[in-house]
């Protein structure tokens, strides 16, 4: 995406957008307790128009989160439970022979559940590769082509998929090409005992409350329009580029861990995704420009599913998050290129 040529979002322009975002986050926090950080990243992903892969054990609230998001944003929401016998036509749709009044029968396209704003692909790794790959075009091109006819998906279109990290028997791990199409891969972990206590006390049968202040279509459009005016400084984009380049083994700034454990680093799509997600994170933080802290906040969810580790990493129990954290720690954001014995203080000390 080209850098915005319009002036920076003025403070009085940015403030309503931040208020909107805060309202969405507040609603999400109200529906799903104890997931503040996760909600911010999900909203950042939505504002970046990216697809999100949620990974977590059953019952941690993945579906509830996505459902609540659809309600808050007032977007059409559909859920598909992926199973091994699920066929591509079950998602994309199919042509059926239909009687026409006063005429011959003709093939009519029956749209599948993918024709929606938010598609919840539940347990996506249980479907066969054929069915998984049916989503490739929809996710990247936001269109579906059947029998030579391309049909555009509604705008906006998000795939929010979930997968279970356990019970891997009978599953089909997502291919790298499909993983790369997800902007974020967010782990949905356990919540604390206090949060559980709140859930038990405030939720009858665990049913979340219905969001009380959903966004209008116009408000959502304003948010997306605001995203277009977020400015990514050159130094930050250079940092993103260096970060992605350094994830490749034997690159100039690769860490020892990358050289040891990574087979393939992150793709250029990762750099694009990181730039967009950083913009969204800066918007949520109430700033018109992207800083290094925004990149650091989104780097792990953007890169963790794009790194292909080798067997040595598995033996040494090194995960993708540790690799990304190592990169963030080793790379100098400003790129001063100073010698090792000359050190510049990174952050000002508190009062």
């Amino acid at each position: 995406m080209n850098q915005p040529t319009a002036p920076l979002l003025a403070p009085d322009e940015l403030a309503p957008l931040v208020a909107l975002a805060d309202r969405i986050l507040a609603q999400m926090d109200l529906v799903l307790l104890g997931r503040t950080a996760l909600h911010r990243l999900v909203l950042a992903g939505i504002l970046s128009r990216g697809h999100i892969l949620l990974e977590g054990l059953p019952g941690v609230g993945k579906t509830a989160l996505i459902k609540a998001l659809g309600q808050i944003l007032r977007l059409e929401f559909r859920r598909v439970q992926f199973t091994p016998d699920l066929m591509p036509s079950d998602i994309l749709g199919t042509h059926i022979l239909q009687d026409k009044a006063g005429g011959p029968r003709e093939m009519t396209f029956q749209a599948g559940p993918v024709f929606t704003n938010i598609l919840l692909a539940d347990e996506i790794n249980r479907a066969s590769p054929k069915t998984q790959s049916a989503l490739l075009e929809a996710m990247q091109e936001r269109s579906v082509t059947m029998l030579g006819t391309t049909r555009m998906l509604p705008e906006p279109f998000f795939v929010l998929a979930s997968q279970n990290p356990i019970e891997l028997e009978g599953t089909y791990p997502l291919p790298e090409a499909q993983l790369d199409r997800f902007l974020f891969k967010l782990p949905v972990g356990d919540v604390s005992a206090e949060v559980l206590e709140d859930i038990i006390c405030t939720r009858r049968r665990g049913e979340p409350p219905v969001p009380s202040a959903p966004l209008s279509a116009e408000e959502l459009s304003r948010l997306f329009a605001g995203m277009e005016r977020m400015y990514l400084p050159r130094a930050v984009s250079r940092y993103i580029s260096r970060l992605v380049a350094a994830s490749h083994p034997r690159s100039r700034e690769a860490t020892a861990e990358v050289n040891s454990y990574v087979t393939y680093g992150a793709s250029p799509r990762a750099a694009i995704a990181m730039g967009e997600a950083s913009r969204a994170h800066a918007l949520l933080a109430g700033r018109p420009t992207v800083g290094f802290e925004d990149v650091r906040a989104v780097a792990a969810p953007v890169m963790n599913h794009r790194l292909i580790l080798n067997y040595k990493a598995r033996f040494d129990q090194i995960g993708e998050l540790a690799i990304v954290q190592g990169l963030l720690d080793s790379l100098d954001e400003a790129g001063l290129g100073l010698p090792a014995d000359l050190e510049v203080e990174k952050a000002a000390r508190g009062p």
């Binding site: 002036p7 403070p11 400015y231 420009t289 800083g291 290094f292 925004d294 010698p339 952050a347």
Partner: protein, 481 residues
């Protein structure tokens, strides 16, 4: 924004200063270590004086210049420094954006920019620099006497000066051709330059060769000087003798003597260039014609005496330069010794022409006329030069030979000790030698202890503890059923 730019300029200055300190420190360290090693090496190996090595301190200027140039080149770019300040002040990209586009309403709202602390971890290099300075100071301050001798430490200066002085004398006296003198001078310079403690034999051998060349030329010159002095001395003797007895001699004898004088004078002039140059032409002509007057005879004698003195001076110069032995002076004095009184006596006593011929022949051969009587045994001399030795023939020109001086080799009779050639030394007694006692009668030897009928030459000693065992062994037949 002005604050941001000021802070940026200040940060650039600070960072540049730290980089300059870092690179200058390294430059100083490298040059200090290099210079210290070079100082020690050059002083020890090449023996260069320390004041020349002080020029190496000028190398610090380019070292510092290189450090500053490197610092300028390695100073981060403005966007990078802007990014560092943005990160430090947590401005969220505002300062970075300010360098790229107008911030609009965000400009006045941007928080103040603070300077990040810059730390240079240069302790190790600083310590190394101090150590290098100490090393350099030690390299400069160590006295020469504590330095090991180097390659150039072969001390031949005195010998070289002596050789040069000898060569100068040889050259001045024209004992060798000028071309050869030039070659020897070049050789001398070359030997001086190549004199090395690593290979002293080469230098000393070359010096010996030079000295031998000079000594050979000097020896030849000394020999020539003696010969010239002797020739001049003979002519002078005859001239002075004739001056004394001229009036008493018969005209025929006088003429004969004059002829002999002319021959001797010509011979001396032919050998001595100085005499040939100093001799007056008319005088030489008169001498050749045999019509020398009394005054002319005196003049001729004086000229010949001067020639002798000249040869002596030349020889003295060679002796003074230690080119020849001082004994050569004595030899020259002996050769040039005047015998005019004796010769005059002989001439005066010559009654016939034959006597004169004998006397003149004796003068020509160098034999003294008055010694003819001592030639009865043919060996009138008593010892050679330096005295001692057997009788030897006397000669005006020849030195004493080695005849009858050496021992005659004689083959000795075979000594009785020759039989001891195969003997072996078993020791050296410190006491007086004693004669061996005569051997006694022959003894029984190994059979001494044998008993008749014993069957053995040696009696086996049976230990008490074995007695029962042996007894049982021999009694076993008895106990066997």
């Amino acid at each position: 924004m002005a604050d941001g730019d000021q802070q940026l300029a200040r940060f650039r200055m600070r960072l540049g200063s730290f980089l300059a300190i870092r690179y200058c420190l390294r430059g100083l360290l490298i040059w200090t270590m290099t210079l210290a090693a070079a100082v020690v090496l050059l002083r020890v190996a090449a023996g260069i004086e320390r004041q020349w090595l002080l020029a190496g301190l000028l190398g610090y200027v380019p070292a510092l210049a290189v450090g500053i140039v490197l610092a300028v080149r390695r100073t981060p770019s403005t966007p990078a420094m802007r990014a560092a300040l943005d990160r430090h002040a947590a401005l969220g990209g505002l300062l970075m954006t300010a360098g790229e586009r107008d911030l609009g309403a965000w400009g006045p709202r941007m928080p103040g920019v603070s300077q990040p602390a810059v730390r240079l971890h240069a302790g190790r290099h600083g310590m190394l620099l101090l150590a290098g300075i100490a090393f350099l100071a030690a390299g400069f301050l160590v006295p020469d006497r504590y330095l090991p001798a180097g390659e150039e430490s072969l001390e031949v200066g005195t010998q070289m000066e002596q050789l040069a002085a000898k060569l100068a004398v040889v050259k001045q006296e024209q004992l060798i051709p000028p071309e050869k003198a030039q070659v020897l001078e070049k050789d001398l310079v070359r030997v001086r330059q190549e004199a090395s403690g690593k290979n002293p034999a080469k230098t000393l051998e070359a010096m010996d060769h030079l000295e031998a060349s000079l000594a050979k030329a000097a020896a030849e010159a000394a020999e020539a000087a003696v010969r010239h002095a002797e020739a001049a001395g003979k002519a002078e003797d005859l001239a002075r003798a004739l001056d004394d007895v001229k009036a008493q001699m018969a005209p025929a004898q006088l003429s004969e003597a004059m002829k002999e004088l002319a021959r001797l004078t010509e011979q001396a002039a032919a050998e001595s260039k100085s005499l040939a140059e100093s001799l007056d032409k008319e005088l030489a002509e008169a001498c050749r014609d045999g019509r020398l007057t009394a005054d002319e005879l005196k003049d001729l004698a004086e000229a010949l005496a001067k020639c002798k003195a000249c040869e002596r001076m030349r020889l003295e110069k060679l002796v003074g330069a230690r080119l020849v032995d001082a004994a050569e002076l004595a030899r020259l004095a002996e050769a040039a010794e005047g015998h005019e009184a004796e010769l005059a006596e002989v001439l005066r006593g010559c009654e016939s022409g034959e006597d004169l011929e004998d006397a003149l022949a004796a003068l020509a051969t160098g034999e003294s006329a008055d010694r003819n009587d001592d030639e009865a045994d043919g060996m009138p001399g008593r010892g050679g030069r330096g005295g001692g030795g057997p009788p030897t023939a006397l000669s005006w020109t020849q030195g004493a030979n080695q005849e009858n001086v050496g021992f005659k080799e004689k083959v000795l009779a075979p000594a009785a000790a020759a039989s001891l050639k195969e003997s072996r030394l078993v020791g050296v007694s410190t006491g007086d030698p004693t004669a061996a006692k005569p051997a006694g009668p022959s003894a029984g030897g190994a059979l001494a202890a044998a008993k008749a009928g014993g069957g053995a030459a040696r009696t086996q000693l049976i230990l008490p503890q074995h007695e029962n065992t042996i007894r049982r062994y021999f009694e076993r037949e008895k106990t066997r059923p």
